[in-house]
């Protein structure tokens, strides 16, 4: 049985490699916001209030492109709706927490943190304080995201754009799913999701990010039925 502290550190350790892409992305996010002409305080406040990488950029780009607030807010909601799926997966492991703790821990659920903690949870179901791992991944992400966006806001895009560091984002997620390429059913689900996301990319409010997982999960359900 691992202690709370051990689980927290393990979470930090598991998420740490992803900072290789999260930090440059945070710097870019902060810099873009200021470049688009927004109040620096406002750009930074988003990192605390929304705390969701891509959705923050999309929000500012839409507003500066002349879209209405309603469109910008709706798009953020749609982009971030994927967290509903993460929550559904995590709820199994967080069941025993009090309502207040559930409310608090929810704030730090992000893509990479969910992915790494979920991997850990699957292998260590019996641990008593599992949620400390999620706190470790989530808080590490939060702290690094705050520092990175702040750095981008203050220093501007000191990361040269020619480096193409935005490319580190898909690479982080490739690192997360690459081991599942061993399983044919997962490969099919991934391809269905990926291809759908390209087909529905033009759908309003960035809804491809919701539509493609729904289609992919439907295919997953069909595959499960076939397997039986």
């Amino acid at each position: 049985m691992l202690s709370k502290k051990q689980l927290f550190s393990r979470g930090m350790l598991d998420i740490a490699p992803h900072m290789l892409s999260v930090i440059p992305f945070g710097i870019i996010c902060g810099a873009i916001g200021v470049d688009l002409g927004f109040n620096p305080y406002l750009v930074y406040a988003m990192s605390i209030i929304i705390f969701g990488g891509a959705s923050q950029i999309v929000f500012l780009q839409l507003l500066s492109g002349g879209a209405s607030s309603l469109v910008a807010v709706t798009s953020v909601g749609v982009i971030n709706s994927r967290h509903l799926l993460y929550g559904a997966v995590l709820s199994e492991y967080l069941e025993k927490l009090s309502f207040i703790k559930k409310l608090l821990i929810s704030y730090v659920v992000v893509d990479q943190g969910f992915a790494e903690s979920n991997k850990f949870f699957k292998k260590n179901k019996t641990e008593q304080y599992l949620h400390y791992h999620l706190l470790g991944t989530g808080i590490t992400m939060w702290v690094c995201w705050q520092i990175a966006t702040l750095a981008g806001i203050i220093l501007g895009s000191f990361v040269p754009e020619e480096l193409g560091l935005k490319f580190a984002i898909p690479l982080t997620f490739i690192a997360i799913v690459v081991q599942d390429l061993k399983k044919l059913d997962h490969v099919i689900v991934m391809l269905v999701c990926g291809i759908s996301s390209l087909l529905f990319f033009e759908a309003p409010f960035k809804s491809y990010i919701l539509i493609s997982p729904v289609i992919a999960l439907f295919v997953a359900a069909l595959l499960l039925r076939l397997k039986k």
Binding site: P17, H18, L20, S21, F38, A45, M46, I50, F51, A54, S55, F59, S69, A72, V73, V76, G77, N80, R82, H83, L85, G87, A88, L90, S91, E92, K102, S106, V109, D111, N118, E162, G164, F167, A168, P170, L171, T172, F173, I174, A175, I176, V177, V178, L181, H186, V189, M190, L191, V192, G194, S196, S197, F201, E202, P213, A216, L217, A220, L224
Partner: protein, 105 residues
Amino acid sequence: MTWLSITIAGILTYFTRMTMIALVRRDLLGEKIKAVLAYVPSAVFPAIIFPAIFINDYGTYIEMNDPKIFGALVAIIVGYFSRNVIATIFSGLLSYWIIIFVFLS
């Protein structure tokens, strides 16, 4: 006005994070749904990966010889065998940089 929008966007985002964890009882989800949920990472992350690789900043599809495709393939191969996140990200970036700075410059 922008502050209000950000606050609403933030509340919405928080609700997407909190709803399933705090408000939905796990027992409501049957065994079949739990089995499907095991596919969530595979069913969600490609929707971030594919557009980031195949669609450029202007919203159009990239050419088949785009260096990002090569970088992604290298990352997949390195990641598959190394099982190491840093190696995956770094090999992808490095191969991408080699193409854009050495071959295309």
